[in-house]
Structures are given as C-alpha cells and as structure tokens.
C-alpha cells in the first residue's frame, strides 16, 4: 500500500465539490425512470382497494381480459409468495391475496396498449368482498381484536412487534431522584413527498432474463424481493437504478408495484411501465409512523440524568415494512447524546388498516428525540440551570459505552454545544426576548450507518466498490450504492480522484446496474458516506498501489519512495523526477491489460448479546446542537422560524456543499413535520393525498440557516467522516418547540404544532393564571 494521505493535503475532499451530475440535471438531460422508453412498451395499471379491510370473495377479470388492447390482467394468486424488506416479517404480497388491508391496497394489475385502455380494463374488473372490522386506533389494537389484520399479530391482537428492554434499575433510580419530568408526545404521520413519483419499467426477454429499471434507493433489496416472489434466480434478474428524484426512505422497501410490474412483463413478454400519480405515492406511503410516546426522566438535584422510562405505541399501518427496526429505534435512539445510566423501554408497533408506515429520514429517531429534548428543556427549567449547562453535564464522553452497549467512538457534542451557543447569541437572548419571541435549543444523535446488514451476516461486506481503468485513463467506478440526490456519486468520484491523484473529470461513476455493480446496501440508515466511503478509499488505494508500482518501474525507485502528485507520480525526495499518471498507468497495464481494483467495507463486531442488541448499533454516531429563533403572532398562533444555527458533528465534512445541503434540506423536512405536514386520516381514509393539501413548506417559511461543522475526525470513518444525511433532521423539531416555549410559555407535545394549537395553548396557560415574560 502507498503511504497514508496527509490529512490536510487534500485537493478535493473537505472543499465544496459541485455534484458531478449537476450539468445533466440542470439541462433536463438526467434520465429518471419515467424518461426511459422501450420498444413496444405497455402501460401497467393497478386496481386499488376501496375497502380498508375486507376478505376477497372473488375477482372477475374476464371482461377486462377480453377488452381489445389488454395484454394481461393479474391477481394475487399468480405470485402469492410473501415478501418484505426484513426477512423476519414477510407479510406483503405483490398483489393482495385473500384480503385487502387498506384503502389503496393492490387488487389487480393490468397491462394494456395505452393509458385509456388500461383504465377501462381496471374499471371492468369486478371484485366481491366480505367487509371486516376496520382497525384504525393502535391503542385499541394492542389488545385482542375481532378480525386481526394479520395472523401473525401477537395473541390475536394487531401488535406486529413488541419490545421490552430494561438496563440498570429504573425504579430504584426514580426512587432516589431529586427531579422528575414527564412528557407525552403525540406525532401525526408524515411522508417523504419526494418530487419524483415512483416509476418502474420491467422487460422479460427470450434469453430467460428479466430487466427492471426502478426508482429505488436500495436496488439490492429489490433484486432479492423480485427473485423470491417471481421464483427467478437472482442472476437472471438485472436491476437498474436510473436517476432517482428523491427518496428519503420512501423508495427503500421493495414495493409491491415494482414486483407487479415485473410480473406483468413476464406475463406479456413485452416491456411494461408502471408510473404512479401523486395519490398512488401518498397511498404507498411508508412514511414516518404516527406515534404516541411517554417519557419519564429522573435526575439528581444538579440535573444529572439518572434514568429514562419510556414507552411508545406506534401506528404501523397495514404491513411490517421496517417496523421491527422502527420499534427498537423509538426506544434505543434515546440513548445519546447523553449518559443515561438506567433505561427501560416498552415499545409496540401495531398494525392498522392504513397505508403502511416505514422508514423516513431519521427513521425511528425523530419522534423520540423530540420528546427527550423537550423533556430536558423542562428539566433544566426545574433544576434552575441553563439548557446548555444541563446538556454539558450529561454529555456522553468520547470512547464510551451506553448502558445498552452502544459503542460510542468519536463525539464532538460538546464542541457543537459551544459553537452554537456562541454563534446564536444565546446568553443574551434566552428568556430575555420580549413576549412572542423565543430562542430554543434542541440536540441530536443518529446512527452513521446501521451495523446490521439485513440479509446476511456482517461477515459479508456491506459496501463494495470496483474500479476499472483502461488505456484512456478514465476510471470507471462501479458500486450499488444508490445516489438519490444526496451526492454519493460525487463523493465516490472525489474519493477515488483524491486517492489516485487525478482530476475529478477522469472518474466516471457508472449507473447502478446489478449486472456490473458490486453489492452495496444502498441509501438508507445514513450509511453511504461511512461505508461506501471506506470501500471506495480501499479500492482507490488498491488501484494506486498498482499505479505506484508502474511508476516505480519507470523511475527506478522503490514504491515506498513514490509519492502521488497531481496527475503524476513523483519521487518523494526528488519531485523533479516524475512520470505522468498515464505513463504509470500504461506501464502497469503491460502485464494485465486494463487495471481493476476492489475495496469493501464490513463494520466491526459490536453491541451486546441480549435480544435486540444489534438495533441501533452503528460504527459511528453523529451529534448535533441546534438553536432556533422564532417569532409568534400570539393572537393568531402563526409563527415563523427566523433563523436556525445548526452545529453538526459529521466528523470531517468531505463535501461541504453536500453537508450543508443535507442540513438545509433536513431542516426543511423537520420544519414541515413540526409546522403543518400531516397525513390527515378520518378513520382509515387519507383525506389529503395531494401536494396541495400536504403542506410542504415554501421558501418564505424557511429560516436562514447557519451551518457550524465542528466535528473532529472519526477514527473509523473514511478520512474521518461520519453521516450527514439523516441526523441533521432530528434536532430541528425540538429546537423550534423549545423556542416556542421561550416565546409564549407553552409546551407543545402534539405535532404538528398548528397555529390553532398555539392559540389554544396560550389561552389555556392564561386561564391557568400563568403569565409569561411580562405578557
């Protein structure tokens, strides 16, 4: 191996690197799934269930089948094998079998020559059902019910997953506590609302192969699910990921329509496209779980944390999806950034007859973080110390272990606190602003990549990167990491260019294609920078070693004395003696032809040995401290976040442009959930499946954001980096909520915090005779 890179001698990493596919995106030349055409392509359409919960008596597709221009009509029996993103909870089918479980569940799939014909065929399908009891309240679903949604619910209830954990002795801690605080949080469901609706194209060819292009974040899980359900070996399936217009977790499960589309292709022998409209996207959901949680905090007289006693009831919707993980995360992600010596958690995820909940940016960490940070704000007030001081006293030190055995390595949490306190002018503002104005602190903690690959043991690499260089000197990079807009292609290219010492434009990141891309688990759990980054670094170092050998042969100096220059290789103590990159390359190619190199990453063993111990373990964690300034119109309850100072520890930021972009985008998404986004249900029915009624914030609602990147190098991250994709979201919500408290003296624990709730909260406080800040 060549010598380690000088930490600060980078030419690219650590700077602001514009996204490499930017020029294609700004000209409309980037290709998303719906932009692709195949000869003879048919239109695929789905019949969705108008019933929330019903047993299917019969489906008559004969009229639809005999409509001219219809090529296939499929129902669930054709491919009944259940699947799901987690191997332990396969409870979905591509098309409903026996039952429908939510309004929008897929009853049949049609392939036809064009859209009108497909729609006519859909309208001709006759379905008879026996309605079953509708379950929409997860709190009721924890007990045995008539007509449970799945057979696998616990003891005839709708409980999909129950977690009970206890570390230390929580009751004893509460018995000796000087201060206790209790917060009960209630969180409406929210959804990803990426701008690109899902789309899939599938084509089966006479060579026995099936090719699927799909808007997916995790091509590998889709690949597996297609194979399992369709009964084709994986090597006969080819999954291609075109450009993806945002995912945020919503395109990380293998989804029923993707499999149904492939099934239609197999059935017809023609390419088939399924394109979603907005309502389809909303009904597919897999968004953040509606959640009720209850947290009791025990502390000593100085505000040192003694225990958390936490419970949560989580509305899972119709399927399991990532739900087992969600159930754990809603507990264990409370375990940072503070030292909590005793911890008890009881979590239940309950099926309901609503569109499935799943993973959404800062999955499992957002709602519990809100409750924790609001509780600590309250605790600080009770103890009579500044919220910053409370956090400082309790910060997890670097290289420590939490009570549930998370391995904490690097943390710059204290640096985050200090930076944001100074930048925000906190000391001159907190509790000193006029009534209606407020400032608040919220902190964050999130996994930098889930330690557990879902489908295999950690012995298999979670990320692999392959490089290929031929005479032209361009470096082709293959990996199944899935750029969905976060800039991972750019980072991949930059790491390779940095290590090999070539210009960025020499590096070509090849579109994800399972035929050529080595497996990487894709874009979820904020894992890509850490895992792919390490794999890319190793691959690039492998390549560099060969190039150095070529240079060494040409220059007549041993490899140890060769140094990487800019597009050259030089003798370390005689920089005037050098060869160009291409000369070294061509020499190195003499034996083998085109050079290939590989790098892989597997996370090290970690975590306890109790049941569920792996949940929440990660090779590193991000930390955050945000301060928000708000202004409230106390009469109407309308409020605006004017500024957000975001101190974030992502280790070493490798692409500042991308890290800032992730922070700004996360704040936008967090504010959406806080201020107005909500999946608004009446019973089982989603009332607002549109971008008009689902309230994504507009530019004028965005605060000015000041990013403070204060992380130190992580010992295991690539060049010291950790995640910045999801963690930046979680601190947003409590920072604003605590600022609202500072502004008007009301604790809001029911999200979203609509103006109406603000007005009601203020009225209630006034009725209780508690004036605030000289109001």
């Amino acid at each position: 191996m060549g010598s380690a890179l000088p930490p600060d001698g980078f030419t690219l990493l650590g700077g602001r690197i514009p996204y490499i596919e930017g020029p294609l995106k700004v000209t409309g030349r980037a290709e998303y799934t719906d932009d692709l055409q195949r000869p003879g392509m048919l239109v695929g359409r789905l019949l969705r269930s108008p019933w929330a919960h019903a047993r299917i008596r019969s489906i008559d597709v004969s009229a639809a089948r005999s409509l001219p221009g219809v090529y296939a009509v499929l129902t669930g029996e054709r491919y009944p094998t259940p699947f799901g993103v987690l191997p332990i909870t396969h409870d979905e089918t591509a098309i409903a079998v026996g039952k429908v479980r939510y309004i929008g569940d897929i009853l049949a799939a049609v392939a036809a020559q064009d859209e009108p014909t497909a729609e006519r065929a859909i309208a001709l399908i006759r379905v008879e059902v026996e309605p079953l009891a509708e379950h929409t309240d997860p709190k009721v679903g924890v007990t045995p019910v008539t007509d449970p949604i799945h057979d696998r619910g616990l003891n005839g209830s709708n409980v999909q997953k129950e977690v009970a954990q206890h570390f230390g002795d929580v009751d004893a801690a509460f018995a000796r506590a000087a201060q206790t605080v209790r917060v009960r949080g209630s969180f409406a469901g929210v959804t990803h609302a990426f701008t690109e609706p899902m789309a899939t194209i599938a084509e089966a060819t006479p060579d026995g192969r099936l090719t699927v292009w799909s808007a997916t974040q995790v091509p590998h899980y889709l690949h597996r699910a297609l194979s399992e359900v369709l009964g084709l070996p994986m090597h006969r399936i080819r999954v291609i990921k075109p450009e993806v217009g945002g995912g945020f977790g919503g395109k990380s499960d293998p989804l029923p329509h993707e499999i149904a589309c492939a099934a239609l292709a197999l059935e017809t022998g023609r390419p088939v496209k399924v394109l979603f409209d907005r309502e389809d996207v909303f009904l597919t959901n897999h968004g953040r779980h509606p959640t009720q949680n209850d947290l009791r905090v025990a502390a000593d007289a100085d505000g040192r944390l003694l225990a958390y006693d936490l419970s949560a009831v989580i509305d899972g919707g119709a399927w399991s999806s990532f739900g087992t993980v969600t159930t754990y995360y809603n507990g264990v992600l409370a375990m940072g950034p503070y030292r909590v010596p005793n911890f008890r958690y009881h979590g239940r995820r309950v099926y309901t007859n609503r569109p499935p909940s799943g993973a959404m940016r800062a999955h499992g960490g957002t709602n519990v973080r809100y409750t924790v940070e609001v509780a600590l704000d309250e605790l600080a007030e009770k103890v009579g110390i500044d919220p910053f001081e409370l956090r400082r006293r309790n910060a997890l030190p670097p290289h420590s272990t939490t009570v549930n055995q998370f391995r904490i390595t690097s943390t710059s949490f204290l640096a985050c606190l200090d930076a944001v306190r100074a930048a925000s002018g906190w000391d001159a503002a907190f509790r000193q602003l006029p009534y209606g104005e407020g400032i608040g602190l919220g902190c964050g903690f999130y996994i930098s990549g889930s330690n557990s690959p879902i489908h295999f043991t950690p012995k298999m690499p979670q990320s692999t990167v392959h490089l290929k260089v031929d005479m032209d000197g361009g470096i082709a990079v293959h990996s199944m990491q899935a750029d969905i807009g976060q800039g991972s292609n750019t980072l991949l290219a930059a790491i390779v260019a940095e290590v090999v010492g070539v210009a960025l434009e020499r590096v070509h990141v090849i579109r994800v294609d399972s035929d050529v891309s080595p497996i990487d688990l894709g874009s979820y759990s904020s894992r890509v920078t850490f895992m792919m980054g390490n794999a890319a670094r190793r691959a690039a170092e492998d390549l560099r070693t060969r190039l150095v050998r070529g240079a060494s042969e040409l220059l007549g100096y041993p490899p140890e004395q060769i140094r990487v220059g800019r597009e050259r290789f030089e003798v370390a103590h005689r920089p005037d003696v050098s060869v160009t990159y291409l000369e070294a390359l061509h020499r190195a190619m003499e034996r083998t032809g085109a050079l290939t190199a590989a790098g892989a990453y597997s996370s090290p063993p970690m975590g306890g040995s109790f049941k569920g111990a792996r949940a929440g373990t990660a090779p590193a964690y991000s930390f955050a401290a945000y301060v928000a300034r708000v202004r409230v119109d106390a009469e109407t309850g309308e409020y605006r976040v004017g500024k957000m100072w975001a101190a974030f520890d992502c280790g070493r930021p490798l692409n500042r442009l991308a890290v800032e972009g992730q922070i700004e985008g996360s704040i936008h998404m967090g504010l959406g959930q806080l201020m107005g986004e909500t999946l608004n249900y009446r019973g089982a029915r989603l009332m607002n499946p549109s971008l008009l009624d689902y309230k994504i914030p507009m530019p004028a609602q965005m605060p000015e954001v000041e990013c403070l990147l204060v992380g130190e190098d992580d010992p295991e991250g690539p060049f010291g980096a950790k995640e910045a994709g999801e963690g930046p979201l979680v601190a947003t919500l409590p920072a604003v909520a605590n600022a609202l408290y500072d502004a008007v003296g009301v604790r809001f624990t029911d999200l979203p915090i609509t103006p109406e709730k603000v007005v009601k909260g203020i009225e209630l406080r006034q009725r209780e005779g508690r004036p605030w800040k000289g109001e």
Binding site: E279, P689, D693
Partner: protein, 329 residues
Amino acid sequence: MHLDPFELHRPSSLEEALRLATAHAGGFDYLAGGTDLLPNYKMHLNLRPHLIALDAVAELRGRGLERLGAMERLADLERDTELARAYPGFADALAEVATPLVRASGTLGGNLLVETRCFFFNQSHFWRESLGYCLKAEGDRCHVVPQKERCYATFSGDLAPVLMALDAEAELAGPGGRRRVPLGAIYDAAGDGIRRHRLGPGEIVVAVHLPAAARARASAYLKLRVRPSFDFPELGAAAAAELDGGRVRSLAVAVGGLETYPRRFDELTAPLVGEHLSDDRLRAFSEAVMRAVRPVHNTFLAPDYRRKMTRVYVRRAVEKVRERSGAAA
C-alpha cells in the same frame, strides 16, 4: 393522468363563443386559464363533452382603472402598478392567489368563478367512488353536513371579496343579451351550494367594472392559509373605506373562504357610517362578523379556528385600510 376526450372550440369573438354555447347547451364548460377547470377535469369532476376556450376572444381583454377584461391574466394585473396604486387591496389579493406560476395562466374571470372546494369533492375519482359520491358530483348526499339537499363546499377565490368591497360590477353577456350586475349578485347566496353562481345558461363574464367611488377608497385584503403560497384561502378578509379624518364616509367589508359564497356585511357596516372608526367600534364590528359566519369542516383548518380568526383578520384588514388612508385610530 390524462384528460378524458372532449371537443375543444376556440372562438375568436364573443358572438361566436355564445353561438357555440347555445349549440352545446348543457354540455360544455368555458375554459379560461384552465388552472381550476383542468385539475378538476383530471379528477373527473363534472366532465362535459365540449370545452369552449375563451383565450382568443378579444372583447374579454383589456385593463384600465375602470374596466378589467375577464381574460386578463392575474400576473399581468399584478404587474400593473397603476392598478396597484388605485386599488391596493386588489393588489394584496392578487399577490396572494395560488402561486406565480398559476397566476401566469389564471385569469380574472376564472378566479371569480373558481369552483367551490371541499375535502370530499377535490379528490380523485377513485377516492370519491370508494367513499360514495356526494351531491356536488354524481352523488346524492353530503359528507360534511349529513343531509341530501345542500352542499357546503367553500368559496375559495381570493379576488371576489376585495372587488365586492370596492363595489365592482360584473359585465355579463349571454345568448339572451348583455347585463351589468353588482359582482356579489353573480353568486348564489340563496342556492343549494351545488352550483356556485347564478349566471344564465351560456353567460360569460366579460369584464369587471370599478366605479369612480372605488378609487376614492383605501382597501386591503388579508388571507389566512397554512403556507404563503399554493394554498387556497381558509379565510380571506377584504375591506375598503373612505375615511374623513377618522370618520367613516363609506366602509365595505367582505369575506371569502368561509362559506359557499363570498359575503359582504352591509348590515354591519352601515351603522358605522358617519362614526369615528375607533378601536372599540372596530372590535365590536369584527366580533359581529365572526358571529355571522358559519364555516364547516371541509378545508384544512378547523372551522372553529377559522371563525375565531375571522374576528382577527377582519379587524386587521380594516386597521390596514385605516393606516392606508392615513387616519389614526
């Protein structure tokens, strides 16, 4: 999402448009900017086999301080600084309609006749079918106020309230001739709510006329909505007044976004004429407006809150008018 087939007509004169309307009586819609009609068509709401596009009809164009052609685009009205100076409340309202992109196509006439809105109506065919259709499209009952006679869909146009407060008149042309009515008269306050206006069959809104008195008034429009763009009004409060010192020479207040039609409160403003517009009087007046309105739960924000805010928004709109007239409280 494709549109179901229809026949598109593109008359180049008012006369031709009215002839087409007569020929396809009962089976057509006029198409202006299409920003309201086409989303509704995509959702299969009350489709007609013929669309008569009004974009080539020159008589529907033109804008000046006295007359605004119905086919004037909102973006062009918004850009007109002379209009904004003369009718600041109208400028307030224009800037609040939908989004700049919708305003680039949307027209004045379309805005005045925008379809009323309801959670149970502005939904896809699949959605409505799965619940059971309602009175306003294909069905026979209401999901908001359970009964079978009346629809409570909400009037959601932003421009009507302020134009009504300015005493605007609508110039109409129909197969039976032309007429001019107070703008508020095109809304069917006494109707069943299913049909949102009382234009005759085939009648076209040709223009809006503003009387000289309107130019003597200061005006303002305030809109309640969740986001500062896109969202339809959850409440829109318009006020226009001529103040003499602090004394009211004329005052008109109208609201939209609360009920099936936009509404003016002449019976409540009349007693204020000749009086000093004090804070107390204003508060009492706003309170009375709040008591008069009856929003139902078919939009995003709860009706209780929208009512409560009516008091605040009406008061603030009048305060703004007072400010704009340079009058003190």
